[in-house]
Subunit: 332 residues, 2 copies
């Protein structure tokens, strides 16, 4: 293994000089800098991460804490993970995975051992056992999603209330007077998942504001449950002409059930989904949708965490604005 001493010898300078070239913490003459950089390249030198972390008190690693529960929508999750890893690299940091089932102890472990400089916590719930732990850690963190009590924390998320509201506005603009929200499985609401609640709140508030009638129903993801739910919905509320679906996994079934009931999309029923664009595009007809901007969220979360590491002040709460894309499921 090549050490900084080898590089120093090769370049004819002191080890500390090599360090200053690499970290840029003191000015170095351009001649020396060039010589050292050539030696680094020639010897294939990579600083020992452990030694660096020990000496500098910086690991250049961020923890990415994955969601607690199953039933998360995998594609969005994965997009997010990749976005975070890439954004971190652009800031010269790596990403260490901490999975759900390690719980709060996992956070204490990676922070306590100085394995990471900061933490990114995904899919935070309203009453999340990890939130108080984050507060007591000596390392900065950024939450994706936000808990009931966000005091002293930095949170970032899609503005789901605005997403729900935007969907209703779009339908109201098209002349619909009775709209329904086909939501996440009941369990998601029961465990107080913030984003599901916020979508619903935005949806209902916009319906009030626009003077359109509205109803909401939680929906499981298996085909039979969706069939029962949608059939029941249209029986109880026969004049509903617009659906907002905030349940990625149930989406294909919703479309299929409408067809089997003889309801044409968009002529009889207009449909808007809150889901990734590629999924909306793949269905028949392609669905008007509001996308969860996983990549943008990931980048933003990393940027906030890096700012906190630099002790730059950061806003406690960032809400990304949703983007609605019109497709065939709402325009006749």
């Amino acid at each position: 293994m090549v050490t900084i001493a080898d590089v120093a010898r090769h370049a004819g300078v002191a080890p500390s000089t090599v360090s200053y070239v690499l970290t840029g913490r003191r000015s170095i003459s351009s001649a020396t800098k060039a010589r050292v950089e050539a030696s680094v390249r020639e010897l294939g030198y990579h600083p020992h991460a452990g030694a660096r972390s020990l000496a500098s008190n910086r690991a250049n690693v961020l923890a990415l804490v994955l969601p607690m529960r199953e039933g998360m929508h995998m594609p969005v999750l994965m997009q997010f993970v990749v976005a975070v890893a890439n954004a971190a690299r652009r800031h010269d940091h790596d990403v260490l995975l901490v999975t759900a089932d390690q719980g709060a102890a996992g956070l204490r472990r990676v922070a306590g051992s100085a394995q990471v400089d900061g933490l990114l916590v995904m899919d935070v719930e309203m009453h999340d056992e990890r939130v108080p732990v984050l507060r007591e850690l000596d390392r900065p963190s950024v939450l994706i999603g936000f808990p009931a009590d966000a005091a002293g924390l930095t949170c970032v998320d899609l503005d789901f209330a605005e997403a729900g509201s935007r969907c209703v506005d779009h339908l109201a603009d098209l002349g619909h007077t009775y709209v329904a929200l086909v939501g996440a499985p009941r369990a998601v609401y029961q465990r107080d998942t913030g984003f599901a609640h916020r979508t619903m709140a935005g949806f209902s508030a916009a319906a009030m504001r626009r003077g359109v009638s509205s109803t909401t129903l939680p929906t499981d993801t298996d085909h039979e449950s969706v069939r029962v739910a949608i059939t029941g919905l249209l029986e109880r509320h026969p004049t509903v002409t617009g659906l907002v679906v905030h349940n990625e996994a149930a989406l294909p079934s919703v479309v299929e059930v409408l067809r089997s009931l003889g309801r044409k999309v968009p002529d009889d029923v207009a449909v808007i989904a809150i889901c990734p664009d590629d999924q909306a595009e793949r269905l028949m007809p392609p669905l008007t949708s509001v996308a969860v901007p996983a990549e943008q969220l990931g980048h933003h979360a990393v940027a906030l965490l890096m700012a906190k590491l630099d002790r730059t002040p950061t806003p406690p709460l960032t809400l990304l604005q949703p983007r609605l894309t019109e497709r065939a499921s709402t325009t006749r």
Copy 2:
């Protein structure tokens, strides 16, 4: 921050004794051990990861190298990532993410800086630029999937040839005499992705062996492409009565196109998918399927890598056997 010296002082022993209690590398009297462990708990001591890595030459971190290209199936990927992270924890290791776009340089960086003890490389292609790099690294690695030249490497994967073959056998057992493989997008075959080729080879070989006619076609994932492909297939080969679909993203569209063409599943056309169970269950009718055992693959890959770290001999090639689950799409 609490150090080993603090713990030693608190327990009234030498730092080295604390180290021996924690690592178990020398025998310690149970009285001393208990006292040290109590001090560790009381002080909330976590060994500094960098110092440990520097002193012991072991980071207790594995690199997980994500796939090179887009178009991977996200849910399976994510399942795999989580399975790897959990399995690694059970062996007292953490997982560092290395994304595709870092390429071979990323592997050199994390290995060269001693940030990781070993590497897990996902979705290896037949001619993968990362393979020669893995060979020259001084750290062990395990590949998921396998390249054309696997000499000196350890690989693990689902036996996709057997998966393709199992599907044909199932259809042949049910009396089908003409079967088609609806495969991945053409691009996947063009870039020599091993698993797609192997499924096709197993499919074709089994058809020969069983004396059933067969055809294969690559398929893009958007609805329109699937419609064109399936319609064309059934026009050119009107007596095809069994489809094997190895393309998760196209699956909903395949089912939908068959319906729109008036072909009943399973009465007119039987369908078997190679896809995760939950997806097969969610479609209508639920599909007979061969699952990609992401979790099992993840565990196995980690177990192999840990064995290599312990210098235990490991088989160069491990193929996990596929499991076929019968559902409504093949039984009348």
